[in-house]
Amino acid sequence: MKWTALLSCLVCCSAAVQVWAADLVRGGKPAGEFVLAGDATQVEVFAVTDARKWIAEMTGATMPIVSTPTEDVGTKVFVGRNFAEPLFKEDMAALEGSDGYAIRERDGKVYVFGSRPRGTAYGVFGLLERNSDIIWARPHPRYGTIFGRHENLSLTQANLIDKPTFPYRGWGMGHPFHAPSGEWVLRNGGNQLGRGMEEAGWDMLHLAPHNLATPISRLFKDHPEYFAFDPLKGGRHGVTGGEGSMCLTNPKLPEVWAREVIREVHEREARTRRPVDAFLIGPGDNWFTCQCPECLKPIQLPQGGTLEMKDPDAVKDPLFRSTQIFMFLNEAMKTLKQEVPHVKMVSLAYIHMAEPPMVDIHPDMLIYFAPYPTSTMHFGLLDERQAGVWRDRFAKWMTKTKNLGFYEYFFSKPSPLAFYAGENLKTLGEHGMDPSKGYVYTEFDFDRGGPGWDVGAMNTWVIARLFWNPNQDVDALYRYYIQRTYRDAAPKMLEYYELIKNSWVDSGDTTYDNAHTSIPGVYAAMIVKKGLEPRVRQILGEAASMATHPSSQALIRRMSTRYASFTKGLNRMVAPNIQELSHDGDRFESVQWEKPEVLDEFKQTRRYGDILEASQATTLRAAHDGTHLYLRFTASDTQIAKAKARPKDNAEVWPAGDHGEIWFSGPGIPATVFAFDCNGNAYDARGYDRDWNSGWRVVTQKTDDGWEAIAVIPLSALGLQPGVESKLQWTAIREINHGNERPEWVSYRAVPLYSSFFPIIID
């Protein structure tokens, strides 16, 4: 089906929705039942029992599930193809071969069905979502699903048909399998759920994923000539750990490889007793390609002409290798098409295969493009801010095949990255790609309560919806999610959404964001650097107090907590402007010292291994008065009497023994240290020159439970100005010396000197 036809179909379906109502629950009691065939598949049983569970939680009523309809119960919801087939032939014809579903009402009875079990399951979830306020906002079993409490539940949306645009909607699952994440994918329309939900009864995609050379790996012993020559190893090597490469110019290899793929398909089908849907192939995670003399010769192109090798290294000449591989695959496809025509061959355009080859792609081969090394999480692939090489590759792929999809890494992040996912998916349609041959896939994190889900669940949810139908309004999907997820707090969370959307979608923002960009990095770019941090904090605080639903509250709280931890993780020394410090900032009893943030992440200095708590606590506070930076260093010590340091003198000698050090470094400012000990000895140096004098002063005091120092440093000595962004960075170290042979070294975040410095903000 073409994109335009699909769109028309969906529009028609929407128009066909009727005003009608049938009660499922009334007054907290069941007013209907699910009718499920006795031979229903596992996925259908799951969908119905899952729906019943949520209805029970919403209403307190546990709906019966029966295989034969009972006479004395009201609304009957017939689930499955067999009930509907005699009644809705047109729908069945429209659904045939797809994952779509229809919900129909006839004579007061409701029918939910797909042409296959998973279609029916999507229909059950669609029925529940369309007729209640539920949302499967994220997989987490405790707070991932949000719904209201109701005495009644009526079906009003029971006349529709819905079909996904893409037949292959994959979600990458790692190890160990996480059932709630798989179930979430199913509820939101995915058809690749992970290893724990692969049995035939789940009716999910049956995929055979392989790196290119692995189908022939068993042949190495007798036919090493099929495998890539490595001049470094001085020979040919087979497949190790799933990674290997083939000698693609071996004339026998396309047929040999195809036969091994066929063998694998047949064995897998015999083992699982179900047909393989797709055989996925890719280069693996390596760039190695055969370097035998034959494989380095110019390629005779089928359309005429030759392609010269520019470099044997695929990194430097991906076009040559990509062309070589796709010519090989085109040849192998001839056999595969004949022998296993039901199996879609899906090739990953990844590593050197990401480069569109100089040959046409076999018309029955599907391609899923992996543009991970570029900023796919911040710009559409054809956006002019995108790296040219990846923009060009995407454009070229759309001229090489109509069967294009994506392999993406849309991990949950705080930025509204679904806009770009949607843009790329829509671009496929706009360029005439055949949606029925689009394999769209993303890797994602299991929701074990990790940071990505806490700050970016709505993006993942919207992307799941776009995988089903990329022509939906992305902004409207976000708003729908926010309304259902945050409920009473939705107005505030919409404010938050507008804030981050305007920050991130800003055309002037060129922040790079791809699979490897960290979540805190995105937070820093989208919120912190734009000065939005206080506003976000305020909005989330207000939203938390407005939310009444416990799961909404939990989700807002988790987002706030994550952002707070990201803020802390930035390790900034934020020095507020406290004018009063100019009067008494060097006095320990000054109340002004209650204002600055306390930096307390001092741990045992570690170069490797686990981070260990320090035996004594250390804190640092910073503030300024417009002319001086005030640093208060508090060294708790339960054995302060044992602290060993040089008696106080006025010599500028390194304060060996029990002491503290605060370091600064930045452009134009060589490593600068201010060191002091518990007896008041002081030392400052720049670039290891202790003759340098900053004009600072330091006061120290011993207390019953440790010692403290206040350092007062002219801002000018550090090149700092109030309110002016600085690239100066800081770190701090403490030596706890009780006269032991090995004193304890402590540093901010356990970082050794010179390994990392942290940012400073002079408010």
Binding site: L232, R607, A656, V673, D689, Y754
Partner: protein, 314 residues
């Protein structure tokens, strides 16, 4: 027939004597017996008498430098295929800061250049036209006598090695004793300084470009290891013979994107290919690729106890 081995031995002795005399070419190795700076220093005419002098020490001479003296010793012919050790003892007097007082000065013992207030040494490798091909410089931060040792290969096309010693700040006096340049003892590896514990935590021989935070460190058992941090590369070493080589590393993984890499380079230093190893003590083999004449090591996130590149054979 029976005379042949004897003749071979004699010939070898003759060659060794020639090599030795070249290696021990002045200005190094005679413990400043000639007491004449002009006999040792290339720039003797630029050194004032109050900047450099010789003083007796335990029956030999030491060179005394002060008032920010910078003595460049005469160039010594060198063979880029030979591993050398350049050693001397040094100490200083004066108000300058020493590692014995401020342990953070250990940062300056790596090849990271020398702040002008510190005494320092620079080893330069020169081509036939006396152009500098590469250099190593490091501070001399020990107040008490300390043996400084640089184990190295000169880069390809090197013809000479040049040593410069600076006395540091004006009021500081630096003493230099017993400079020696000779072929290094067999370290059991082609690369230099394969076991960091051998020369100790103030010796960075064999390492060229250090990642931020990279440092020699003490393991809990007191042995010295090298924390490479993210992206430390070694100096080049010659891979003269065709055939198989092994990369053997004992190291701990220590952070993001841990990697052990042996790069194969051509004469110009351009990378031809590389192999990856692991820090598990197993040898990883590679055939020297066509055009490769030298190698270099590259480490990401390792704490190295040993790293050896060895020749296996054809």
């Amino acid at each position: 027939m029976c005379n042949k081995p004897r003749l071979t031995v004699l010939a070898l002795l003759a060659v060794m004597t020639m090599v030795t005399s070249a290696v021990f070419a002045q200005p190094f190795g005679d413990q400043f017996a000639r007491k004449d700076l002009g006999q040792y220093a290339e720039n003797a005419r630029l050194i004032r008498p109050d900047q450099a002098s010789f003083e007796p020490l335990e029956g030999r001479q030491v060179l005394r430098l002060t008032k920010s003296a910078s003595v460049t010793f005469k160039d010594v012919p060198i063979d880029p295929t030979v591993k050398y050790a350049l050693t001397f003892r040094g100490r200083f007097e004066g108000d300058g800061e020493a590692i014995e007082e401020n342990p953070h000065l250990d940062f300056l013992t790596a090849y990271r250049g020398v702040p002008s207030i510190f005494a320092g040494r620079e080893v330069q490798f020169l081509d036939a036209e006396k152009r500098v091909l590469r250099s190593l410089s490091s501070a001399l931060v020990f107040r008490e006598w300390f043996e400084y040792r640089d184990v190295f290969y000169a880069p390809p096309k090197s013809k000479y090695v040049r040593l410069t010693i600076k006395s540091g700040r004006e009021d500081q006096v630096y003493f230099v004793d017993n400079i020696q340049l000779q072929p290094a003892a067999d370290e059991g590896a082609i690369n230099c300084n394969p076991v960091p514990d051998r020369y100790g935590k103030y010796n960075y021989s064999g390492w060229q470009t250090l990642a931020v935070g990279a440092k020699m460190i003490e393991l809990p058992d007191g042995r010295v290891a090298f924390d490479t941090k993210y992206g430390t590369s070694g100096a080049t070493f010659p891979l003269a013979k065709p055939g198989k080589y092994t990369l053997t590393t004992i190291s701990q993984e220590n952070g993001f994107n841990y990697a052990v890499v042996l790069n194969f380079l051509d004469e110009e230093g351009k990378k031809i290919s590389s192999i990856n190893g692991w820090g598990n003590g197993k040898p990883y083999e590679a055939v020297l690729p066509a055009g490769a004449t030298q190698g270099s090591l590259l480490f990401y996130s390792n704490v190295i106890e040993e790293v050896r590149v060895n020749y296996v054979g054809q």
